[in-house]
Amino acid sequence: MPEPGRPLRARIPAHVVYRDFPEETVVLNLETGQYHGLNATARRMLEALDDAGDVELAVAQLAAELDVPRSRIEAGLSKLCAGLAARGLLELHDDQAA
């Protein structure tokens, strides 16, 4: 993850598909053939990332709709992004990186 405060683009790659079920969202990485489960909170965060295309914007979107301190949202989203990126389920790109 880049340093805090730098714009960070987020994108769900084309090789990732997911489906929602009442108690869980199941994500499939078509490149690895691995399945992953997301709970409702993680699912909402993924949706916000996909909609906003940017981590900071996703944080702002979630902070506006959830009664949760922004710092907690940032910490949770940062952890989720790292986990998803490590599994090939999310692409993160630092626009200002050389």
Binding site: V17, R19, F21, E23, E24, L28, G33, Y35, G37
Partner: protein, 319 residues
């Protein structure tokens, strides 16, 4: 004046596992069908012809197992054709375009090669052509098709047969075809054939005994479903030592169903289709877990499953 008997047709047309078949020999237990474009042409050929046509193995077998004590192997050829070998008893060569299947039995009168053709080779072709397959037996009742999914030896056939004895129609024994198309989710039947233990009750429901094997008989079941039907329920049959007999509705995800899907390693490109189809089943079809101990008789399981096939209001007349 004598009447000349009618000539047999040059080809018989059938459908099984959502696969249209155009066969140069009559096949037992398959539903007759109108000729369809794109049908699999099936014919018996000399072994030498298959040896000449086979492009040679591209690598290790895709699938190796044993069926009735004989080794069975499926190989992809260097020209994308497939060769299935059943010990020394039979060869089956599928052309690269998946349109022609040549069978070379060592003993044409032996039922074993026909049984393998109709309960393994045909669904293999269906799977290769893009149809998704669930490891399940199924019966058709008034509500639609009820699938009983379990791994080999899990008791699918025994439970299906018990439901047939109670009035349901056979839909498929062991493999259920689910074409990945839009619209309503519909299941497609397998052949009207079953493998039943020698001492199984309800023999009056059996048509012809096509073959007798060490532990079972291969039989036709006349009252079998002929066409595609709505999938009304899926029961995941789980037998465990000491388990309490129970049927409970699940809140499933695709992950509950995928263990019962069939695939070959070279079909990795189908992962997305498989994921989408089984996601549809999980969200659109009631899915149940049927748990039972290893020694629970099929009748006790059928008591729980029967209402799924017949609707809750049906009252079975006393025997």
């Amino acid at each position: 004046m004598t009447t000349k008997p009618p000539e047999p047709p040059a080809f018989w047309h059938y459908r099984a596992f959502a696969l249209p078949v155009r066969s140069s020999l009559p096949l037992p237990g398959l539903a007759p069908s109108a000729p369809e474009t794109g049908a699999l042409t099936l014919e018996v050929a000399p072994r030498r012809e298959i040896d000449d046509l086979w492009s040679g193995p591209a690598g290790e077998p895709i699938w190796s197992t044993a069926i009735d004590g004989s080794p069975y192997a499926m190989r992809l050829g260097r020209a994308d054709d497939y060769l299935m070998t059943y010990g020394d008893d039979a060869l089956y060569l599928l052309s690269a375009d998946l349109r022609e299947l040549r069978c070379a039995p060592e003993q044409p009168a032996d039922p074993a090669w026909r049984r393998l053709l109709l309960d393994t080779v045909l669904w293999t072709v269906s799977l290769l052509r893009g149809v998704e397959l669930m490891h399940a037996s199924a019966v058709k009742g008034t509500t639609g098709v009820v699938a009983i999914a379990a791994f080999s030896g899990g008791g699918k056939t025994s439970l299906a047969w018990e439901l047939i004895r109670r009035g349901a129609a056979l839909f498929t024994d062991d493999i259920l075809a689910l074409p990945a198309v839009g619209g309503e989710l519909r299941a497609h039947p397998g052949p009207g054939l079953m493998n039943l233990p020698h001492a199984e009750q309800g023999r009056h429901l059996v048509g012809e005994v096509l073959g007798s094997f060490p532990t079972e008989e291969w039989v036709t079941v006349p009252r079998a479903a002929l066409g595609a039907e709505r999938l009304a329920a899926v029961c995941l049959l789980r037998r465990r030592r000491g388990a309490t007999l129970a049927l409970r509705r699940l809140n499933p995800t695709v992950l509950d169903l995928l263990p019962f899907s069939l695939a070959f390693p070279d079909l990795r490109g189908r992962l997305q289709q498989q994921f989408m189809l089984y996601s549809r089943v999980a969200t659109e079809v009631p899915v149940y877990e049927l748990s039972a101990s290893l020694d629970a008789p099929p009748g006790s399981l059928a008591d729980l499953v029967e209402p799924l096939a017949t609707g809750p209001d049906r009252r079975r007349p006393a025997a």
